[in-house]
Structure formats: C-alpha cells, structure tokens
Amino acid sequence: MASPIEQFQIKPIIPIHVGDVDISFSNSSLYMVLTVVVATVFLTAAMSKRALIPGRMQSLAEMTFEFVANTLRENAGSGSQKYFPFIFSLFMFVLLGNLLGLTPYAFTYTSHIIVTGGLAILVFIGVTIIGFMRHGVGYLRMFFPHGAPVIAAPLLVPIELVSYMSRPFSLSVRLAANMTVGHIMLKVVAGFVAGMGILGFIPFAGVVGVTFLEFGIACLQAYIFTVLSCIYLHDALHLH
C-alpha cells in the first residue's frame, strides 16, 4: 500500500534550471496554473452573458464576488476597497487550491507550508507596508494597546510584537496543517476499504463522510485565510 504522504510528493514535470536554482514545472506548479485557468475561465464564462437577471453560473460568480466584497468591507472597514482584487485573488487561489486538491489523484498545493507561507508572508509584508505608509512611525502604536498604563510597556510591547510576528506562521500553518491532515486521513481510511475485504463498506462510508467534511474544511479554511488577511488589513488601515 502506498504511503499516505506520497500524495504530497513534488514530481517535476518539465525540469527547468536557472543557474543552480531548480525552478522545474512540477505537479504543484501544474495545479497552481490550473487554479488560475479555472478561476479565470469560470468567472469569465459565467459572466459572458452579462445578464441582468443572472443564470445559475452567473449567480455563483456574483455570489463569490459579493461574498468576498462583504467579507472585506465588514472586516477591513473603510478604505479597504482598493485591496479588493488582491483579497479576491487570495480567496480564489486558496479556495480552488483546496477544492481542486480534493479531486482524486490531484495535488494540493495548499498543503505545502512553503506555499501557504509564501502567501502569508506576502500578506504580512503588504499589511506592514500599508500600515507604515498610512501611519508612518505611528504604526508602532500597534505594539502598545491604547489606554494601557505606560509602566506595563516592557511587558506588553514584547507580547504584542510576538503576536504580530507570529501572524504569518499561524496563518500558513493553520491552512497547510488542515489540508495535510485531511488528505492523510482520507488516504488512511481509504486504505482500509481494500484491506478489510468484505467489511470494506464500513471504512468506505467513512471515506464518503470525510470527503464531505473535507469539502467543508476546504471552503472554511479559504474563508479563514481571507478573513484573517482582512483583519490584518484593518489593523494596518485603522490601527486597533
């Protein structure tokens, strides 16, 4: 039986080397490109009719749009609208990465800490830059809660600093760990289907249930990633 973590193996498809750096086009890259294609084709095709009264596909596209727009508005507040394309791309990239990864034999790039870490650090750096651009040095007030006694500063500032710095880690580890664990669980339970022979229907029912659960988690984790990014953006725009 194949190891449950074999599905996370990076397999180069087109080897590319620039100098000493290996930037081969792998199964991971394939699914990232696939995500871009699926997102663009779906959203373009669904909106191609430009119907005043939307059809099924157009409704889905509009609902996704409005869902992300509302999430951004509610969590990041005023002045956040110009970051909407970024937040929307982030949501689509994570959501489709999670969902496409659930199809059999697929690769889930959101299970790789380096990918989620890349996105999280992008958010972290972007938010920090926005914060300093809007508030200048005043952004450092982030690390000292408003109204706290000055004497508590030596204690509070390191805590706030650590909490701020740990954002990209919690953001990326949460997503990658959720995806990895879900896929391992699916693989392990699925392994029992063949292993238990005639009684295999019991783990098979489990696989069906876990698959439903994983679809829910795929959407939920994409939402959490987006919401947290919006909240960080809110802190940068309006401080606490």
Partner: protein, 164 residues
C-alpha cells in the same frame, strides 16, 4: 515529509509567484471590473425602477385625489338637485291639494244646496199629498165633497201647530 524538502522550495515559490501574479492581474484587470459593472448596472436599474414605481404611485395618488374630489362635487350637486326637485314637487303637490280642496268644497256646497232644494220641494209636495189625503178622508168619512182650496189652509195650520 515532502513538505519540508527544501529542494522543492525555489520551484514552488517561483511558480507560486508566477501563478498568483497572473491570477491577480487577470482578476484585477479583466474579471472583477466586469462583475462589478454588471452588479452596478443591476443596482442602478433596480434604483431606477424603484424611482419610477415611486413616481407612478404618486401619480396614481394624485389621480385618486382628483377623482375623489370630482366624486364629492358630483355627490353634492346631485344632493342639491334632489332637494330642489323635492321642494318643487312638494310645492306643486300643496298647490294641487289646495285646488282640489277648493273644488271639492264647491261641489259639496252645490250638492248641499241641491239637497236643501230637493227637501224643500219634497216638503212642499208633502202639503199637497196631505191635502189630497185629507180631502179623501173627509169624502169617505163625512161624505162631504170639499175642494182643495178649503182643505189646504187647514192642513198647513195643523202642520204648523204640530211643528212640521
């Protein structure tokens, strides 16, 4: 675990950057403005339709007000006309009533006159009959032939005496 295989990191980060930047550009320049336009147009259309509905409602209410006013005026005019006709009819009826009363009174008076005349006539005849009867009784009982001229004053006197 393959997750921590650092040799794959450059490739993954490179393709992450390529695909995410491509996705961002496609979303920002192509897909999102389109969806935004359609949603905005729909919102504008809904607002326009609501405005129009509001305007039409106001027009309807104005029309209803005009209609109610016209109805009230017509009702008042009708009531006035009915009152006028009823008063005219009542006056005419009273006039006719009076006329008929006068006519009937005249007829009653005339009839009474006739009745009195007839009575007087009848009473005059009674004297004659009484004279004849008296003449016949005298002829039978006393076997005396008398004439009317002698009997008549006697009958009249007796009648007067008895208050007839």
């Amino acid at each position: 675990m393959p997750h921590f295989d650092a040799t794959s990191f450059p490739s993954q980060l490179f393709w992450l950057a390529v695909s995410f930047i491509t996705l961002y550009l496609l979303m920002a320049k192509l897909v999102l403005p389109r969806i935004g336009d359609i949603l905005e147009e729909r919102q504008r259309r809904i607002t326009d339709d609501l405005d129009m509905a509001e305007r039409l409602k106001a027009e309807t209410e104005a029309a209803i007000a005009v209609y109610e006013k016209a109805l009230a005026e017509a009702r008042a005019a009708a009531t006035a006309e009915i009152n006028r006709v009823m008063e005219a009819n009542a006056a005419e009826a009273a006039a006719r009533h009076a006329e008929t009363d006068a006519l009937l009174a005249a007829k009653i008076a005339e009839s009474e006159e006739r009745i009195h005349a007839a009575r007087r006539e009848a009473l005059a005849e009674v004297n004659g009959i009484a004279t004849d009867v008296a003449q016949a009784i005298v002829a039978r009982v006393a076997e005396v032939e008398t004439d009317a001229e002698t009997i008549a004053p006697v009958v009249t006197a007796v009648a007067k005496e008895r208050g007839l």
